[in-house]
Subunit: 207 residues, 2 copies
Amino acid sequence: MPIKLGVLVSGRGTNLQSIIDKSVSSLIAAEVAIVISDKPNAYALTRAREAGVPAMYIDPRTDKPILTGEAEDDYIRFLKDCHVNLVCLAGFMRILKGKFIREFKWKIMNIHPALLPSFRGLSAQKQALDRGVRFSGATVHFVTENVDKGPIILQAVVPVYQDDTEESLSKRILLEEHRIYAEAIDLFAKGQLEVRDNRVIIGGGNG
Amino acid sequence: MPIKLGVLVSGRGTNLQSIIDKSVSSLIAAEVAIVISDKPNAYALTRAREAGVPAMYIDPRTDKPILTGEAEDDYIRFLKDCHVNLVCLAGFMRILKGKFIREFKWKIMNIHPALLPSFRGLSAQKQALDRGVRFSGATVHFVTENVDKGPIILQAVVPVYQDDTEESLSKRILLEEHRIYAEAIDLFAKGQLEVRDNRVIIGGGNG
């Protein structure tokens, strides 16, 4: 039986699309049960509906990049109602706080377009270009209350070329994001991920 | 004509040995003109002497991880007397300050056992293991007054395995350190490195 995913989105949903495609093709042992957006017009919602996946907007009830306590309760309730086993952030632009994290302890993943701990926060690709690194990449990690500081599940490396633009580097990283996000979800679904001392042990489970 | 290197060391000098070996084999367009240590008993001094390279201890005159102004003047004078074109830090455990940096502007390189900007400072390999990253590596960069923050010349990536120890990871990284340090020195010697907006452009020179 595939596990049930709840995917939180704010934008165009390229990672969501990749997850849906791989789920439909049974490349991952997971299916998207619900997509929730904090933006009513996120293109990700359209993608979900076109794929026949339930998708909804839930008002975050604040302009700050967080959810209010009430909004948070709504998000949690809908995810629980859909019997979600794993919450995947896919370009969700709000910071989750203590209650949400505790409700889904070690059951929330995020993807970040850099080799964490380098280039936390926004515009990670631009940060990498500005710093002049020769390699960057992507990181899937469990979400904790400290943004971009949770236990690392998988990473992928890409070269940075001298003539790269933010767009060309972002594209190269995005391909790797799709690949490792799917792999991380599949490992989770198969019980292969265990958090020990804030590190992720792969293959420690019963899968 | 090979350029002349001044290599500053504090410890066992594995990177120094690699540079000497590659210089002797003409794998890099550079020769070690002088090795200076802040520790009288650094094994690196022995290595230098055994290779027939002038090597000396210069008292840093402080227990802090810096050079006093007087000591700094001595280091600069000896490097200048040897007509050094490039200063290579190879496990030199003291922070260079403004005067030294200005005297050898964009002519001081260091090697760091991590993918900067991740894991600056000491015990970078242990920091990487503790953080649970899947990849680490090495970085050659120009030295500025901000420790480990200078323009990046070359980087190399290595995988981090779940059963890695600080020792096993350090060994894997060290092989890459040797490789990219030599390559960076050779690029410098051939006039291929140019610093622009705190980034290093390779092939921008006249070499």
